[in-house]
């Protein structure tokens, strides 16, 4: 099941995204694909949010993958070394 994130994932959008992700997870099927093509900015609040989502997905015995990640977003995630936990391949940009 796909979800396209329409905005940035920063402190400013965090609360709204948390609600969105929580609701989405309830009705999502086994594989969740988060399309990040519209995400231009991410901060540590956003990275933590994605980590929390990943944890919840795993606890639900589901899978999550992130696609269409821009170089800038990937760089931010890699700097904090959280790409492994998010299962984001460093050359992934599909």
């Amino acid at each position: 099941m796909n979800l396209t994130v329409e905005h940035d994932i920063t402190i400013y959008e965090a609360e709204a995204l948390q609600t969105l992700f929580s609701e989405f997870l309830l009705k999502a099927d086994d594989v969740i694909t988060l399309d990040m093509s519209n995400v231009e900015k991410i901060d540590m609040v956003g990275i933590q949010l994605l980590l929390s989502l990943t944890i919840s997905v795993k606890n639900s015995n589901k899978k999550i993958q992130f696609i269409n990640i821009s170089e800038e977003i990937l760089h931010e995630i890699k700097t904090s070394n959280t790409h492994i936990s998010l299962a984001i391949e460093t050359n992934a940009n599909d």
């Binding site: 965090a14 990275i47 933590q48 949010l49 944890i55 919840s56 904090s80 959280t82 936990s85």
Partner: protein, 740 residues
Amino acid sequence: MDEVLEIFLEDCNDQLQLLEDALITMQNIDDPSKLSDDKESINTIFRAMHTIKGSAGMFGFFDIVTFAHAAEDLLDAAREDTITVSPDMLDLFLVSKDHLEKLIEAETNEQKLDDENVNIGIELLKKLHSFMPGHEDSKEEESKQEETVEKINEEKKKERVEDILKWHISIRFEKDFFTTGMSINSIFNFLNKMGTITTNTPILYNIPSIENLNPLTPYIGFELILEADVSKDEIEDVFEFVYDDVNLSILLFEDSDNFEDINTLIEIRQEEKLKQTLIDANFYPAQVFISTTQSEKNQKTVVTIPKDIEPEKEINIPQEQVQQKEPQETIQKESVKESQSEVPTTAKKKPASMLRVDSSKIDLLINYMSEIVIENSKILSLVEENANHGDTINNNNSDLEESAQKMRELLEFVRDGIMDIRMIQVGDSFNKFRRIVNDTSKKIGKDVEFVISGGDTELDKTVVERISDPLVHMLRNSIDHGVEIPQDRIAKGKPAKGRVDLRAYPDSGTIVIEIQDDGKGLDKERILAKAIENGQVQVGANLSDSQIYKLIFEAGLSTAEKVSDISGRGVGMDVVRRNIEDLRGTIDIESEIDVGSKIAIRLPLTLAVIDGFLVQVGETKYIIPLDSIQECIELTKKEQNSMKGNNFINLRGDMLPIMDVRKLLQEQQSNSQRENIVIVHFGEKMVGLLVDELLGEHQTVIKPLGPVFENIDGISGGSILGSGEIALIFDIARLIEKSI
């Protein structure tokens, strides 16, 4: 520019100003051999540079960091007395400050420096390095100087390989960390510039599931291994600006047979999974960690920590562990910061009593205040009307009147309070001129002592900002045209060093700013001759000294023998006068040949509001600023007759010029039986304004009249009365000038 960047820019500007002020102070020390003794100024400069470096690092502005770091190294050497501060070094720091300003501007505007400024930066870095102790001007150094900034730092890194230390940095965040706006990735980038983060283990086990997550609470943490030639203090400095919001622990890995108990960190963190996480991430071998149950069960041996390690506590380890001990990396605990109890010594906090406020918010409040004042005036008018019509239906009329009057008093307090917020001390602005005076004097080979007094005088922020450029222009003129070169001054029996005074003081509801020099003074004859040549004055015109001196504000009039890039083109002083007149200010000049000149600028305290006195002239109401009123007298028939058609009266033995406002402003003849004279003053000059009726005090918010009316001489603005009528506000300074 986003809000956080704006704060960064403001803070940097404050630091750069402190830095410049301290450098100028040092430059004013006569004996160069005493420069190194001025530790207070050196420390101020160092702290400013250090603060800029630290905050730039937080934002990842590494060009600023690199440049500031080089300057900081030199300043540190000066603090430690390993180098001697020289006038050349001070000049270099001033130029470096300018370059730093450009770097900061470029970064905050997300722009790249142009090639010219990049090269300037490289040259400045070379010069900064050249002052460092042990610098040799060898060919090897010359070839290094050809390298880029990046390569210079790489070389230094290589030289320090054997000094590389291995640090374990444990980071957790306090609940408000995310709201500080600081980027943890910037911290990582900065640490990577200091050395290399060889291991970065995010701590994720505290992050709850999405439905239980408070997005603004930082659950994430990090365990880092940093390899760098840095001290613990230098690592702590990286976190200086988030010190209150970070729970930081810094431990040094060191090859040693002795080790501190890493469990202390585990205990402080109170995280069950931390131990295993550190083992899995190859921070420490499992043997390092001792469980409390195990230590209770086993026979204990007390190990005394060697003297060269700060003894914090005795460690109990099992006997067999001592016997089986193999050489392994040990941990020497440097410090563990306990967030609840420790007061960080390097924390940077704004003083609690200060608050930065966007001045546009104050302007908005003033606008609302003006509307409230107008509405309150309407209420008072209605109350008065009801009273005049004998309205007794509602006995609350007197209560209403009382409430309206009370409201008026309260509004005055609030109005004064808001206006007071806008008042700032002129000294902050005046201090910025030190650099300009310093640079201008040096450029033209003059030696000038610049003295500021009355810096604590307060003036409206807008007025201070708008008077700044005119003052700079006049200061430059004083130095260029006023103060003589040292040889000429000595020949005249004056001290070689000239003096320029800039002073401010309140006077009768205005602020006076004076620029005075002890230079050669203004040549009246030359000024008059030039003005006649330009056609600005007719031949034979009878002008007072003051009027002749004021001709220097006419466009195109410069008696300078040569044009310098500082002054002399005759363009500028007319703009200065216009700027001051736009502020409802006036200028007066006094001068004496070979003694000096004094320019006095009078400015209103504020542009927005005045307390006024309402008068009727013909069909129109006018407001006279209350501060300018000396007294009001009735013009009796007897006095009218004694005037005999002249425009002056005898006021207690003195002649007082009278200005008939009706004639001046072409008002119709009024039906008023009485005429009154309101005697007003501006500075030392006085005039009597002939008006019809006196209507009483009136607090007034000045509304601009707009471009159609801006050329009406003697009127500075308008005000809306409670009745809805417009009252025009007299510009007393202009009126008095016209009457002379």
